[in-house]
Symmetry: C3
Subunit: 142 residues, 3 copies
């Protein structure tokens, strides 16, 4: 049984940005040398997510638009108010959008490779960029 981990570093370039991490994931799993088990992918941030989706520009635009709609700007968020919060970044909406998509993904590893369906990609979502972000990838198996 082996537990191997490493970190994928991402430099986001926009306030809101979705990126495809599938190739980085395949490389990390391959480098771990684990045949069968699980791989966990963990955003180390509360305003950036990892999730599974089809990677198509039209669809990722729809995902960003949906999250912008359901978590609207301009509401009286306490996290953005000096009266309640000493956080300089007025990023309550980034927290709430990241909460909806989640901050970890688990995938099976079979024969040394992560298992994804035909249209599934591992995606990264930045909600409060541009920033440097760290994604922890850990493989457990034999």
């Amino acid at each position: 049984m082996r537990s191997i981990h490493n970190t994928v570093v991402i430099e986001s370039r926009e306030k809101r940005q979705l990126l495809n991490l599938t190739e980085s994931l395949r490389e990390a799993v391959n480098a771990a040398g684990v045949g069968n088990g699980f791989v966990g992918i963990f955003s180390q941030h509360t305003t950036a997510s990892v999730f599974i989706s089809e990677c198509q520009a039209a669809l990722t635009d729809d995902i960003v638009a949906f999250l912008s709609d359901v978590v609207a700007e301009g509401k009286p968020y306490k996290h953005n108010s000096p009266e309640y919060s000493d956080c300089d970044r007025k990023n309550a909406t980034a927290h709430l959008r990241a909460l909806i998509l989640g901050q970890s993904v688990l995938l099976p590893v079979v024969d040394g490779k992560p298992v994804l369906g035909q249209f599934q990609s591992l995606m990264f979502a930045e909600f409060d960029g541009p920033r440097q972000r760290a994604i922890h990838v850990q493989v457990l198996g034999d």
Copy 2:
């Protein structure tokens, strides 16, 4: 340490349909012969989810109604527009609804059985049926 996987095939019969997978899960975990560890249940599709909920017809109707409400039909989704997307299935809402419920569930395995609370069931959600769907079940432990 063992890593055992198999596939549960589902034939959904409706456009939107919630099904209880708990019995299939118990059978898969029992067949794996793993005493203690984790079981992961992974939808191989971007428009079908797995999640944990109470399985009651009134509640599953409420879940479908909630998702239909928060992800409304009739918005100008790019994924549904020939201008932006070459996808024949106009299924942007199915993608967004599946994103909210998620595409994997992790559960503990103790004494050869998946651990669920008294009112918890493993549920499958079809958002773009009817179709044949594959659910990957993987057990890791000893």
Copy 3:
């Protein structure tokens, strides 16, 4: 390879309440004596969640307000109707809010400790309290 589990019991005191479980998690992982692997944290309930967030009072208020907004009271939920449901607790909104945040969290364990980013905490969310709640914590690794 070891699989160690125990239960964290929570006494919620309000109808809706968010609590920080990070210290309980660190103690459970430390007690398990596993060096490297995964820890899973599982709510055993369909109306209480576990999730990752920054733990700041202003932000947790924003999370509760957001969920109260997106899952509105006063809609004709079947789960709350004697015509469709024999459930005495009229708690459809609690189910739907718990569904959005999710009922499990997976984290890596490295050198005997759960891995969390600088601003990440493990949070518990009660949506139908006050009640006694059980959180199953399971560590798998070596």
